[in-house]
Each structure stands twice: as structure tokens, then as C-alpha cells.
Symmetry: C2
Amino acid sequence: MKKALCIISGGMDSAVAASIAKSEGYEIVALHFDYGQRTMSKERECFDKIASSLNALKKFVIDTSFIADVGGNALTDKNIKIPKNALQDKEPPATYVAFRNGIFLSIATGIAQVQGCEAIYIGLVEADGSGYPDCSSEFLEAMNKAANLGTGCDIKFKAPLIGLSKGQIVATAYKLGVDLANTWSCYENEDLACGECDSCLLRLKGFKENNLNDPIEYKKIKFKD
Amino acid sequence: MKKALCIISGGMDSAVAASIAKSEGYEIVALHFDYGQRTMSKERECFDKIASSLNALKKFVIDTSFIADVGGNALTDKNIKIPKNALQDKEPPATYVAFRNGIFLSIATGIAQVQGCEAIYIGLVEADGSGYPDCSSEFLEAMNKAANLGTGCDIKFKAPLIGLSKGQIVATAYKLGVDLANTWSCYENEDLACGECDSCLLRLKGFKENNLNDPIEYKKIKFKD
């Protein structure tokens, strides 16, 4: 039985990436990070639903609240505003958490080594992403090399969505039967998704490209073509 | 004023590495990790003394207690015994914490980016080390590349002790005036260093090679030539 460690934030991308791992014949070890992000409880709830739907062998919820001590980002610092309708205005945007994916992949590497997982799946999106430097395929490849040198293992880092558009990600979710009602993308912590932050804009773009309606509710949809 | 982020465990090696950073003209931002290791309080006390002696601009103490959840090592799991008089018996030894240096360097990268540090100093020792896979220069180089790709910064990872013997490290400490009484190397959490774990054996080897006495006290010295 081959096992994959899947980093599952609770968002759409990582849910689809984990479903791809399952469809490629892996049993799933599910990994989630709580880091004091504004939307922590919502993301955690989605993580639990996604892990259940994948019949995960094991779940890890790792407290990385130290990320708030690292500072400098709008996701953990409530004094920094979440940018609205600002997609690709500035790179990296205020929501960039310094080297977050590097930190997450390092912790995942340690867990994968102890758990004997052959692969780590992460929902990185490069082309149609938020402009974070730690979402590129060059970064992922370098990190994979470091992980294998630093553990003496041969773990494969897989980012099956990295070259896909948001429309292609939504289409893949439907193809694999991922219930996107169980995912949360908005950066704000409100009852309904805001519809205006970068993450909502990208998600809505994905549905629009498929002429589909998002099953989650929005406070406001101000999507621009 | 150029700044270096120094990872300071409280042990001899990282104290010497941080002193080298200072001697190379950097102002010091001091970083320590608490991860529920057996010797946490002793190491923390040494960290504070070392950071003070370097007039650190800022201190970060990062709670990485999730490392106990990753598991599989004798430093955080009291059911796994610390090997005694077993240097180089088995690689990696039971004290290997899966990808610890990768995790520490990733967090350090995030802090260095936010704090504007040009370099990260770490006390890795390859040749005369404990046989951990995440102590090699190949690993460090790959990790440095990943860090720069993932942040868009140009941060230099420096491990000035990587090619030194323990004897050379002790000699460097004396040359730079590092007070080794303020450092703790033993893996056990007792009042006196055990003198038998890998870390004590390596430290004692360093003093012996210089015909010096270690300023800290040992419960037992059973050093073999």
C-alpha cells in the first residue's frame, strides 16, 4: 500500500490535489496547518470533511502559530488589511506569509519520513496564482532536492495543479467528484465568503470559466472580466 | 548595518557559529527553537546568555513543539532511549529528528526575510558530527537555493563549522572568546552533563584534542580514544 502525505488547507486547490493523489492509487495521510490565520476554524472544518471524504489513514493537525511571530503578513496580523479587488496589483501581495510553503513542506518532509510516505502532494498553483514566490515549480524542485538530501529518503513532491488555470482546477474537481461546498477559500473570517479578496476572485474566475455556479455563498460578487 | 540571523540552540557549535557571524561584521538577530526536547530549559538558559554576550539586536524564541507530533526520535519521545557510548554505531541515530534542520532553516528563512537579514548562520558540523543526513553541505546548498527561490531574496546560508573537527571548533571558541561554560550539549536533562551520549562524547573529543578541560561538569567521563 503506497502512501502519500497530502497538505490540505481546506481550500479548493489542496482538496483537488489530494483527490488526484487518491486517484493515482495512494492511501492518504492528511496534513493540516493551524497558524492563527483569520479563517482558522473554517479551514479546519473543511480539512476534516475533505480528509473524511478521502478515507484518510491518519490526520495530522500541526500548530504552527509561530507564524504570527514571524509576522509581516495580512493573514495573521489584523493590523494589515486584506487587499480587495487587487489581483496582481503588487507582487508579493500583503497576504504573502514569508516562506510559508517552504515551512509547510519542511514539516511535511519530517512527517513523511516518519510515516513512510512516498510522496507529498501540495495544491500549488503557479500560472493562475496569487503571485507568491513560493508557488513556482523551480522552488518546488529545489525544495524537493533539499528534502531528499536532508532525510536520505526518496520522497516525491507533487503539485499536480501547478500548471493549471483556475478553470481547469474547477473542471478537475467536478471530474473527480470533489465536493467544493466543503472547501473555503476566502481570506476573511465571516459567515459568507467576501467575494472581493484575491482568493475569492481567483476561485470565482475558475467557476466562471466553466459556466458553473460556486456551491458556497458570497456576500458580494464583483467579479470583473 | 548588515544583519545576520543566527540559529542558536544553546550548544557549543551554534554559539561558536554566531560568534563567527559577529566577528565577520554582522549585527545579530538571535533565533532559538523550543521543541519539547528533554533539555529545553537548559538550552533556553544558554541561548539567553549567548544572545546577551553577542548584544543581539533582537531575540526570537519559536515554539516548534509540533516536532513531538512528528515523532520518531529520542529527543522528544521519552520512550526512546538516548544511545550511550554509541558514536557512529548506526546512521542516522535515534536522536535524529526527522528533517529538523530543514524545518529550522525554513522558519529562519521566513524570519530573515521579514527582518531584512542578509545571512543565516547555523552551527552544522559535517565531518565530526552525529551522522544526521541534514548536516551535509550538499543539503545546506540545496536548502539555500530553495529558500532564495521561495522568497525572491538573496539570503546566504552560512555554516562556518561544517568542515571543522570538534577540536578545531573548541580552538575557535577560545580564539573568539566564547564562554563555553554558557553552552549545553548533553541530550539528557540532568544537573550535570552525562558524559556518555553522542553529543557529550563529541564535545569531550573537542576539548581532548586541545588538551583543555571543559568548563562544565560531567556526571561521568568515559571517553574512549
